[in-house]
């Protein structure tokens, strides 16, 4: 059984937000509209955070793509009174949308604030609804949602692999965000497979997990930004 995880190389990331829109189109994430977005009700399973340091003219900016980190010991899962959010055997923090009663306890409990609530009824003005991806259910008002690690793609690949009586191959599953990213900053795969790209990157000295000290056990690793050092250091691991 794979242990799905992701690495995001913050040093590769350009902040182009292709991942944000890719996730939106793949996962039928509705638009909130100007009024609702202005009061903090936009839904984006993937968002790009901007971390600014320094003063003019020595300003440094880091862009950090932020999504559900699929905690190993997920605070959201613990508080949900109805198991609408739960952990799968292969490490996904999954949602059963029809079961969610909308307590928003999970949203409050998630230390990463990556859970998004449908404050109103999502709307696609006709004929925009034609772009809805039939692989992903549309959520309705009163329901919590968040990044699923593109579970529909995982299951599709697993299904294909099962037909061929083999295991899934490294790199075969591409979440929409990773697929879109021109900078190839996002790598997805099986953390338990020592040969996989993601597990090797996760062992990089640059790798760190967000809010690791909370003990949530994130399955998303960030590769820290590096500095230009001038000289070339062949063979260095980072």
């Amino acid at each position: 059984m794979p242990n799905w995880g992701m690495t995001i190389d913050v040093d590769r990331c350009n902040g182009c937000e292709a991942c944000v829109v890719a996730c939106r189109t793949e996962n039928n994430v509705p638009i909130a509209g100007p009024e609702q977005a202005a009061v903090g009700r936009a839904i984006e399973w993937m968002r790009v955070e901007r971390h600014v340091e320094g003063e003019f003219p020595n300003v440094r900016v880091r862009f950090v793509p932020v999504l559900c980190v699929h905690c190993d010991d997920a605070p959201c899962v613990k508080v949900c009174p109805v198991s609408a959010t739960y952990e799968t055997a292969d490490g996904l923090n999954a949602q059963i949308h029809p079961r969610c009663i909308g307590t928003r306890a999970c949203g409050q409990a998630c230390p990463y604030t990556v859970r998004y609530f449908n404050w109103g009824e999502p709307a696609w003005e006709a004929p925009l609804e034609q772009t809805i991806n039939p692989d992903v259910a549309v959520r309705w008002k009163g329901i919590m949602e968040k990044c699923t690690f593109c579970v529909q793609r995982i299951r599709r690949v697993e299904d294909g692999a099962r037909d061929e009586e083999r295991a899934t191959r490294d790199g075969e599953v591409q979440p929409a965000c990773a697929q879109a990213c021109p900078a190839q900053a996002i790598v997805f795969g099986d953390l338990d497979d020592p040969q996989s790209a993601v597990s090797r990157l996760a062992k990089s000295p640059r790798a760190e997990r967000p809010l690791e000290e909370l003990g949530t056990g994130p399955r998303v690793f960030y590769l820290k930004e590096g500095d230009w050092r001038g000289s070339v250091r062949p063979g260095s691991r980072d």
Partner: protein, 450 residues
């Protein structure tokens, strides 16, 4: 005066409010109903279009509804807990106030838990947690504790009501069938009395841990998360203390109103206000102690995520609310209740009003300020929480509904326990007689008043 005459007099005066309703009462009820109806209309709007009409957002997923939930469940501690303690300690002056307190409990619990209805994104699925509970969720613990507390409080309200129901069955000009059914054939035999006293005694003991558990568990809904300034070990006792504190305040206000409205000056004497005022003073100090400890540890620890919330409270966007809370929950009550001269009916009522307001603000600050400053700093500015018309109307509606239900209760049942007062009176008469026997000059004016 013969004992039976005195009993009759007590009965008459305490049943008067049940049997007679003035025009003012109807007007009050009408106004309250209007507020409730407006809240209902706003809720209907929210059901139609969703939570967009409320003020919540990301990261403030919880707003006024949860504030009110915690607040009213706190208020509910007025009653049962206090009356249980007073009963167990055989405080004689409890007799006229226990029922009023127990009624507050039941109604406040009803108000508090009803917030779940408008808080939930999908209230139509409110039964799901009952069918498929996830036992690790503190929300489920809440459901369990509050249900038990509700049951317990109802029983605890009902048991001491039985003898009075029998009186109503016999004397009420209307609804006799209702009182007959509820009176369970009470005849006032000594066997029945013994049984009732025992049952009440058992309930008084049992209700205390239940009440403590309720507010502890309510606090755990917050404390079990990793949210800055929620994740605190003292939240349980802190919430319980706050609950009792606000409960006493509510009781004070109820007592003062009843005293005035039902002319109960003889039953609720200034000394009771003084005594209870001392209890509230103790709670004020306890509350401050917890509040101080809670904020001091955060400040000293200086953990950045926690400090963000603390700073917002001390100097930031929540500072007005925070310092108003300190004023209302501590400075004002302390200033009034420390002085015996001010522990009058008026003084304690003023202090109580401040405490009620302050405790509501405390719940607001705990819920909203932590929610506004989660660890994910990037979402801080996504949206500021401003309660919307819907939330404010529903809050007003709850306060109105609370008052309305309280009045209705008083219209159906005597708010002062007739039989217990009689019992107390009998005891007092016995004492007086004993005293008279010892010293024939002792005046009996107080008894004559009855």
């Amino acid at each position: 005066m013969e004992a039976s005459d005195r009993d009759r007099a007590i009965e008459d005066s305490l049943l008067r409010p049940v049997f007679q309703t003035g025009r003012g009462m109807w007007i009050t009820l009408g106004l309250l109903l209007a507020v409730v109806a407006f809240g209902g209309y706003q809720w209907w709007r929210q059901l139609q279009v969703g939570m967009v009409v409320a003020g919540m957002n990301q990261p403030v997923y919880w707003g006024l509804y949860i504030t009110n939930y915690v607040f009213f469940i706190g208020i509910s501690h007025a009653g049962t807990l206090i009356s249980a303690i007073l009963r167990l300690t055989h405080a004689e002056w409890r007799r006229p106030i226990t029922r009023a307190a127990e009624a507050i409990t039941v109604i406040a619990l009803l108000m508090g838990s009803s917030n779940v209805l408008w808080h939930l994104g999908r209230p139509e699925l409110i039964y799901i947690p009952l069918l498929h509970p996830q036992p690790l969720s503190p929300l489920i613990w809440d459901v369990v504790c509050i249900s038990v507390y509700m049951m317990g409080s109802l029983t605890y309200l009902y048991l001491p009501l039985i003898p009075d129901l029998a009186i109503l069955r016999d004397r009420s000009p209307r609804l006799r069938w209702f009182y007959r059914a509820l009176a369970l054939g009470w005849q006032g035999t000594s066997r029945q009395h013994a049984l009732l006293e025992r049952a009440i005694g058992v309930m008084a003991v049992a209700i205390i841990p239940i009440a403590v558990s309720v507010h502890t568990v309510v606090s755990w809904v917050f404390a079990m998360t990793l949210v800055p300034m929620w994740h605190s070990a003292i939240f349980g006792p802190y919430f319980v203390v706050g609950a009792i504190y606000s409960g006493i305040a509510a009781l004070f206000i109820a007592m003062a109103i009843m005293r005035k409205a039902f002319h109960l000056e003889a039953f609720l004497r200034p000394s009771h206000f003084n005594n209870l005022g001392l209890l509230m003073l103790t709670m004020a100090c306890l509350w401050f102690y917890f509040t101080f400890a809670e904020h001091m540890t955060v400040w000293y620890g200086n953990e950045p995520d926690e400090m963000a919330v603390l700073n917002a409270r001390l100097y930031g966007p929540f500072s007005t609310v925070f310092w108003s809370m300190i004023a209302c929950c501590f400075v004002i009550p302390l200033g009034i209740l420390s002085f015996k001269r001010l522990r009058t009916v008026a003084g304690t009522v003023v202090a109580s009003c401040a405490v009620i307001v302050g405790m509501w603000l405390e719940r607001f600050i705990i819920v909203i300020s932590s929610a506004s400053y989660p660890r994910a700093e990037a979402v801080w500015d996504a949206g500021r929480y401003v309660p919307s018309l819907v939330e404010i109307s529903l809050t007003a509606a709850q306060f109105a509904a609370f008052a309305m239900l309280y009045i209705l209760f008083a219209k159906l049942f005597p708010l002062v326990s007739i039989w217990e007062v009689k019992e107390g009176d009998a005891a007092e008469v016995a004492i007086v007689h004993a005293a008279l026997a010892a010293s024939p000059d002792t005046p009996t004016t107080r008894i004559a008043v009855l």
